[in-house]
């Protein structure tokens, strides 16, 4: 869970960096997307790096889900009779969102790939240019898609807030003296990732980025 989560967080940061290229214009954005296909070429075949990344990510996602299914089922078995009254003592709001938030994120990832990667779902028209797919997809008239995107990205933010902290603890890095720092890093990465992913689609919706 911690290891696959770490891989996915690192991927998210790279993905966010790529997304932010949208503010440098269509050439930069599309060039970046094309560059990913050429990365490692000619040592790797064309799109080779991309496929290695996809396989690693898919494996990470599947192992991550497999681990949570085990944990979730164990938690259900471990407490079959619930408390009549239960009070939160210190747990973060983020820790409540891990499981159902995770389900939302998983559904979103499927939609997101169909929408902007494969472009099977193409509101506003399909395109070969990733930049155009983005701009078409988040036009104001498709506000419901933007809303889903925003909700999913916020869920990712909460997921990372607890996930980064939890991964550090699982990997043995949690020490009393370090807890403040680990929490600060978790909050900082969550905020950066959330804002970084929200900026491009909202910029399109509000007309700051257009064709």
């Amino acid at each position: 869970m911690a290891v696959t989560g770490t891989i996915l967080v690192l991927y998210l940061i790279a993905h966010m960096y790529g997304n932010l290229k949208v503010f440098s214009g269509q050439a930069a954005f599309d060039g970046y997307a094309h560059g990913l296909r050429e990365l490692g070429y000619p040592i790797l075949p064309e799109s080779g790096f991309l496929w290695i990344a996809r396989i690693v990510l898919l494996a990470s996602v599947l192992i991550h889900i497999y681990a949570v299914v085990i944990l979730w089922r164990r938690a259900g078995r471990a407490r079959q009779n619930r408390y009549q009254v239960k009070k939160r003592v210190q747990r973060t709001y983020a820790s409540y969102t891990m499981r159902y938030g995770g389900v939302l994120i998983a559904l979103f990832v499927v939609f997101h790939i169909l929408h902007l990667t494969v472009n099977v779902i193409a509101p506003g028209g399909a395109s070969d240019s990733p930049y155009e797919r983005l701009v078409n997809g988040f036009q104001p008239e498709f506000w419901y898609i933007t809303l889903f995107y925003v909700a999913a990205v916020i869920a990712v933010g909460f997921h990372l807030r607890h996930g980064i902290w939890s991964a550090m603890a699982t990997l043995g890095a949690n020490k009393e003296s370090r807890q403040g720092k680990i929490n600060a890093v978790a909050v900082a990465i969550s905020l950066i990732v959330t804002i970084g992913f929200l900026l491009p689609p909202l910029a399109v919706t509000f007309g700051l980025v257009s064709k």
């Binding site: 085990i70 944990l71 471990a78 009070k87 939160r88 603890a169 699982t170 009393e176």
Partner: protein
């Protein structure tokens, strides 16, 4: 003080159980929570009703026998054992809900009493040392760095009350297990079994049907002995080390 109590009544393991409301008048704010339950039981006995069964022993906060969930918090609103919680922590007219620890690994025996034998079996799986220690050695015979000794001692204060399990959203017994692993792992006498201890104790923990740890931290927040949450990270470090060595 006048209070209303909603107490979990359950005749036995297989009984469904339910909350029953009792009114108590003239409760002294200086009573401990258990003394208040004693008063309730005296009243119930005089009325020819079955008294509420609850676990208790030393009533000094050092044995770990007592423990109930009060208004959704293990051991109630103060970070202490139930016996050291006093009625002054509540207000006149309060309705207080009292439930047993709820976990499959801690089956209810009756009312508020649960069977914590699962903890004993985790200890039997590795929470001990086999080095013959004899009588107390000279204090300087075995040099132990002060931070290690402090850490071992902090972890050793665990009284095995089970509040960590009761408070955990996953009903995990990880803080208890981690306290034992940290306590013994910091000291030289604990080294011979260090690698196998963590593996065996975790296996037993899982076999007892405790949930898995997701590092939420409610356990350490309610622990009457203040067992630090980072003991769980110590356990994870020991576990990674053991698995790397091929133990287990």
């Amino acid at each position: 003080m006048n209070i209303s109590l909603r107490v979990w009544r359950q005749k036995g393991r297989d009984d469904q159980g339910r909350l029953v409301t009792y009114k108590l008048t003239d409760v002294s704010p200086d009573m401990s929570f258990l003394e208040m339950l004693d008063v309730l039981n005296e009243k119930l006995t005089l009325e020819n009703e079955d008294p509420v069964a609850f676990d208790h022993d030393c009533r000094e906060g050092i044995c770990g026998a007592c423990g109930v969930v009060i208004d959704g918090e293990a051991h109630g609103p103060e970070v202490t054992t139930t016996c050291q919680l006093h009625m002054r922590s509540f207000k006149d007219g309060d309705t207080i809900t009292v439930e047993p620890w709820r976990a499959k690994a801690f089956p209810v025996i009756k009312d508020l009493v649960v069977d914590r034998g699962a903890f004993d079996r985790i200890i039997q799986a590795g929470g001990y040392i086999s080095a013959p220690t004899g009588t107390a050695p000279d204090a300087h015979a075995n040099p132990i760095p002060k931070p290690d000794a402090d850490r071992a001692f902090d972890a050793a204060t665990c009284i095995g009350c089970g509040a960590c399990v009761a408070a955990c959203p996953n009903a995990s017994g990880m803080l208890f297990t981690a306290a034992k692993v940290t306590h013994l792992g910091m000291l030289p006498q604990g080294q011979p079994e260090r690698a196998s201890r963590v593996v065996n104790m975790i296996s037993q923990h899982d076999e007892e049907d405790f949930g898995g740890c997701t590092n939420i931290g409610e356990c350490a927040a309610v622990c009457p002995k203040g067992i630090p949450l980072d003991t769980i990270s110590q356990l994870n470090r020991d576990l990674l080390g053991s698995l790397a060595k091929g133990v287990g």
